[in-house]
Symmetry: C2
Subunit: 139 residues, 2 copies
């Protein structure tokens, strides 16, 4: 991870220097795009909605998720639904998946008490009947 971050810093610096020449803008290799997930703090949340078949509920929940993932300490995220796979070991019963990547545990702690996260819980907690969270750090 340290090497990756050093590399990103180098690229940002190099990009800034080259932008004037029109070769590369800093946004081409900006943080959050140029990385591996190997050393991230993984925060994966699964939601089971009370009314997963109601489009109005789904629209509200999806918009709330999109607002939530704008929290600054989130490095990258994936908003999802069950894939069309089906084997005995696969849990396909959840309504939504929220996978978020953080640089470290401290950044995830900031997210937990962030106003946007608290608003998400307040606005949406009546929509779900079950939530399961897996927090994972690298071996």
């Amino acid at each position: 991870m340290k090497n990756k971050y050093k590399r990103r810093t180098f690229i940002k610096t190099a990009g800034a220097g080259m932008a004037g020449a029109g070769l590369l803008s800093t946004s081409s290799c900006s943080p959050g795009e140029n990385f591996t997930i190997k050393d991230m703090f993984i925060h994966h949340v699964f939601f089971w909605l009370k009314q997963p078949g109601t489009q109005e509920v789904r629209n509200k929940f999806e918009q709330a998720l999109k607002d939530l993932v704008t929290v600054e300490t989130i490095v990258d995220f994936h908003l999802g639904v069950p894939a069309p796979t089906n084997r005995e070991v696969i849990d396909t019963t959840y309504s939504y998946s929220l996978l978020t990547l953080f640089k470290n545990k401290e950044d995830q702690d900031i997210y937990q008490t962030h106003p946007k996260h608290l608003k998400f819980i307040e606005d949406c907690q009546d929509l779900w009947e079950r939530v399961v969270v897996y927090d994972t750090i690298s071996i």
Copy 2:
């Protein structure tokens, strides 16, 4: 995703052009490092080992995971254990987490029947007592 891949292609091309000037090597933005997970196929597996406290078992399982994630269609991966977080909704009971990212469902299908995956199952299936899989695609 399409835009991201186009951007990566641009960066690689730009990087190659600039390498001669010593400003940026192509490896700085190589595929697999410069991406977002937003549109990936997420395959997240949780393992509960029969003997999670036995170091010999852990060593064997961790090596098997490291061999497994060399399957070519895996874009990126995260091998993990429960983070030191503890709230009511967090499941901290699993032994290992294997999070893999694929470009699409087809690439994950290739992984499922890949010889390295079949070898992993054969070598390790006696080590775990429970496996739960979440396959997720973007909303």
